[in-house]
Amino acid sequence: MRDAREFEAFYRRHMDRVYRFLFFRCGQDRAIAEDLTSDVFLKALDHFDAYDPSISRSAWIMTIARNHLINFWRARKETLSLVEEKTDGEEAILEADRLLLARSLLHQSRDVAVRELAWLLGLLPAKDRELVTMHYLDGYGYKDVAAAVGMTETAVKVAVHRALKRLRSSV
């Protein structure tokens, strides 16, 4: 087990983002988001020795959060058949993200503005939607997004800019 101070710094850095990521994908229910966030950080604490910030500062905890969320929906018998049919790992994750985000924002939100937002996000291609969501909704900086998706920071900036431009022209 590494230093307690190191884990505290890690917790403070990622707490808000992990919570936000889960909140928007679990039906915007605060109680569920809090439960899931607690579970994710306890899991992270269990495996903190495997965390290497030099590889990626956020990808590790986001993978734990995403897998935990998928398990949560699976346990609620809301099977992600589309995800399970996919053979490619990355594609399956993007598809799961789309379904969870759409389900949460579009179907479980009473706010018209949020539903409109979900509809707009749905218009974007999977990869662009992931970048836009990570940066604007989950609150990750371009550097963290780049590390998480395996792109350069400049490429992420350009992709996000183009996605927003495409969205404006399509609407």
Partner: protein
Amino acid sequence: MNSWLFRARLRLARRRAVPSRPFRRRLWGRLSATLQARRVPSSVWYRTRGFRLAISSFSSLAVCASFATGAYAYASPTVGPDSILYPVKRQIETVEERLQRTPNAKAEFYLKTIRKRESEAVVERIEHKSTRMTEAEIKSLKTRLRTVSAKLDRDDPATADLEVRIRRRLEKPDRGPRPDATLLKSSSVPKDRNRR
């Protein structure tokens, strides 16, 4: 909807989704309790600053004490073959001997060591101890001095003086000088022994 409004709405949604303070405190309490239960290395005694300071102070003291002991063992004529520091003295002398690269330097070293052994023999006689080992050592050193004196550097102007000193030393008898009467008085020899 333009992209500016879209981004503004995304940011607004993000600002609304913030974990509450009681939840933050509760979760960190749970995590820190788990951390403490697992005895994280930062809190264990051997990683504390005090312990590290104590270890470094102790190591520095140990190093200083070793140097002081070595210096005393090397220089003092009271450290003879029956002393526990004698092996330390011999080790230092072995290293010193190996460091002498030229025959002249080696000869100087043997002269100095013979003088030291003779002082030790004097102390041994004062304390009524056996001088057998020390005298054997002087004999061995003289043999080595004789061997090295054949290889001296004749071009060196200091060699002539060195040769004289070597000759004088080799001509001296193996048994060292008799202990001085004043030294005998101040020694810790039992009185009844002196009377005899």
